[in-house]
């Protein structure tokens, strides 16, 4: 099948390469000269004040946003206007959203099997087996036949993670996955993400959960005003931030 002929980058190459990436919304310059290489299996946490371009940056990686200048290479495929390339990349990159974005007219199981069946052309029985495997991983196999509207926020977000994993992505993007959740549900989602990190998945996570960054991240990327201000090891970043703006940001969020 043609789907299986995707040539993956040699193991040495980075999973994501961003070189001199710029993006504008009309006149507004949202991303300024972004340079970032993410190694295979690396866990990156991206933080920064709101409006700093964190979400926009990771949404450029699967082309939910278009960049106007620079190069983005994902898993050996360069993102251009070529729809074929975009489709190849989207099959390999999973994404989890702030507001879950589950499909409300489909059951949990159907949410998980839809893309494998229609995009990967997988037989239904196999897709369901894989879906149940991941629903067990995120600890909600018993909700498989419910509709998203019947689940709590935390459960919905775990379904969203399982839905992405069913496509066996090589890279996972998380766009503020816990920001819309009640405090008591944040932990169950973070636990799921930590377990995923332990499997060696390449992850880019935009989050305000600094505890998660400390325990899971290989590197922390700090952004402000559309620029990457600092990239550092988490221990260094939290104890000895190099840049004035990172220091200010950390002092503001760690005070309470």
């Amino acid at each position: 099948m043609s789907e299986n002929k995707i040539h993956h980058a040699p193991e040495g190459l980075p999973a994501v390469q961003m070189q001199g990436v710029h993006k504008w919304y009309g006149e507004f310059h949202v991303l300024k000269n972004i340079n970032l290489d993410v190694a295979r299996g690396e866990r990156i946490v991206i933080c920064g004040p709101s409006g700093s371009g964190k979400s926009t940056m990771i949404r450029c990686i699967n082309r939910l946003e278009e960049h106007q200048k620079g190069h983005i290479v994902v898993d050996g495929t360069e993102l251009t206007n070529d729809v074929k390339n975009i489709e190849i990349i989207r099959r390999e990159v999973g994404m989890v959203f702030q507001h879950f974005n589950l499909f409300p007219h489909l059951t949990v199981l159907e949410n998980c099997t839809l893309a494998p069946i229609w995009v990967r052309k997988m037989p239904r029985a196999e897709a369901e087996e894989i879906a149940m495997h991941y629903l067990e991983k995120v600890r909600i196999p018993d909700q498989a036949n419910k509709y998203p509207g019947q689940l709590s926020g935390g459960q919905q977000q775990r379904v969203a993670i399982a839905r992405s994993l069913c496509m066996s992505p090589r890279i996972m993007l998380f766009d503020e996955p816990t920001s819309a959740l009640d405090p008591e549900m944040i932990k169950e989602v973070l636990d799921t993400m930590i377990e995923l990190a332990e499997t060696g998945m390449t992850m880019l996570v935009v989050t305000h959960e600094m505890g998660f960054a400390k325990t899971v991240a290989d590197r922390v990327v700090f952004m402000d005003g559309g620029e990457i201000i600092e990239v550092n090891e988490p221990h260094e970043f939290f104890n000895n931030p190099q840049h004035e703006r990172s220091q200010l940001f950390l002092s503001q969020i760690l005070q309470h």
Binding site: F103, H105, G149
Partner: protein, 371 residues
């Protein structure tokens, strides 16, 4: 319990049933009809109005009515003269379709009823094939049966078609063809491709800006002027094309309102999973959007069904036109109330059926408390 201290033990109040006056028939009556003096007064006034209208109506339509006979001499009791409808019923149903061939219309009608039952009754299996049958095979069979000319069937010109049969053909073809066309136009109007979008907008605004009656006039009077000599296609077909194009513009706008109500996150989630445009629309966006606009779509279908009566002005004899024609018959002058009541009742039955069915679908598709 000592003062200033609340020694509340959780769970000490069990769930009790509500007071008897708040639930059931008594509760409903109290709450909705007799909640205060003003409402009580309105309730009795309403009952009096119902009495004023319905007692004479039932008296006229049922108790005093004449049902049997074959001419106006049978109508002597002063009530409704349903004999008129009875005698003319064949014409009201089939128009001028030859009497010996009317079994073909009946067969088509039965097949239609069976197909609709197959499509709509949940217990009958094979829904996937039902759709295919209804959209592809049934129209072919219906066309061959009704117009004849093959399989040894005598050809029947469309100029002879009329009555309820014609009304149903106009409405069904209109609905079945205008719906998909309307969806495509709605998608086109929201497309990122400038030419597709411009064409869709132009098409929709053109047809929405013209009254249906003008469209029908154009199709029957003006179109032939532009066609080359000798090319002349069926008047019914021309009217059908006019109705389909006209209604598709309305459907398009109803569907577009549904598309706009779908949150951006749904599009993004579908994109992020790698679904192509048509799969995204067909599997994620349209199922949700169409569910949202069921009331609007059914509204448009209802309107379409009733607007088919306008074909009267280009000389097609639909149900209403043929009843009107029958009223001119010198033998039956003066029974227009019966005629129009019958027409109204038939239209009401079909439209009411459509709305009940749409309500059932809405209930069935309800999947949770929030989006």
């Amino acid at each position: 319990m000592s003062e200033g201290k609340t020694d509340y033990i959780p769970g000490q109040y069990p769930d009790l049933p509500p007071p008897i006056t708040e639930v059931g028939v008594v509760g409903w009556l109290r709450q909705n009809l007799f909640s205060n003096w003003w409402n009580t007064g309105l309730t009795f006034l309403g009952l009096y109005l119902v009495y004023l209208i319905f007692v004479p109506l039932i008296q006229w339509a049922i108790i005093d009515a004449d049902w049997v006979g074959d001419s106006r001499e049978a109508c002597t009791s002063g009530g409704a003269c349903w004999v008129f409808i009875r005698v003319r019923l064949d014409q009201f149903l089939y128009g001028f379709y030859p009497v010996g061939e009317q079994w073909r219309v009946n067969m088509t009608g039965l097949l239609l009823a069976a197909t609709i039952a197959w499509l709509t009754v949940p217990k009958i299996p094979g829904k996937r094939y039902a759709g295919l049958f209804a959209l592809v095979i049934f129209p072919v069979i219906a066309y061959l049966l009704l117009s004849g000319g093959s399989f040894g069937l005598e050809p029947v010109e469309t100029t002879l078609w009329g009555g309820l049969m014609l009304t149903l053909i106009l409405a069904l073809v209109g609905i079945v063809a205008a719906f998909p066309l309307g969806i495509l136009l709605a998608l086109g109007r929201r497309s990122k491709m400038p030419i597709v979008r411009a064409l869709s907008v132009a098409f929709i605004e053109l047809w929405r800006g013209v009254p249906l009656i003008t469209v029908l006039f154009m199709s029957s009077v003006m179109l032939p002027l532009f066609l080359p000599e000798g090319v002349n296609f069926d008047k019914l077909l021309r009217a059908l094309i006019g109705i389909v194009l006209f209604q598709s513009a309305y459907i398009a706008e109803v569907v577009r309102s549904g598309l706009q109500a779908i949150p951006k996150g749904q599009y993004e989630a579908a994109d992020a999973l790698g679904l192509s445009y048509w799969k995204k629309m067909g599997l994620i966006i349209l199922p949700q959007a169409l569910k949202l606009v069921i009331p609007g779509i059914v509204n448009t279908f209802n309107e379409l069904f009733k607007d088919t009566t306008l074909v009267m002005i280009i000389g097609l004899l639909d149900l209403l036109a043929i009843i009107k024609a029958a009223l001119e018959d010198p033998n039956w002058l003066g029974y227009s109330i019966e005629g129009y009541t019958f027409a109204g009742l038939v239209f009401w039955l079909f439209c009411f059926g459509m709305s009940r069915y749409s309500m059932a679908i809405e209930r069935k598709l309800h999947t949770g408390h929030k989006r």
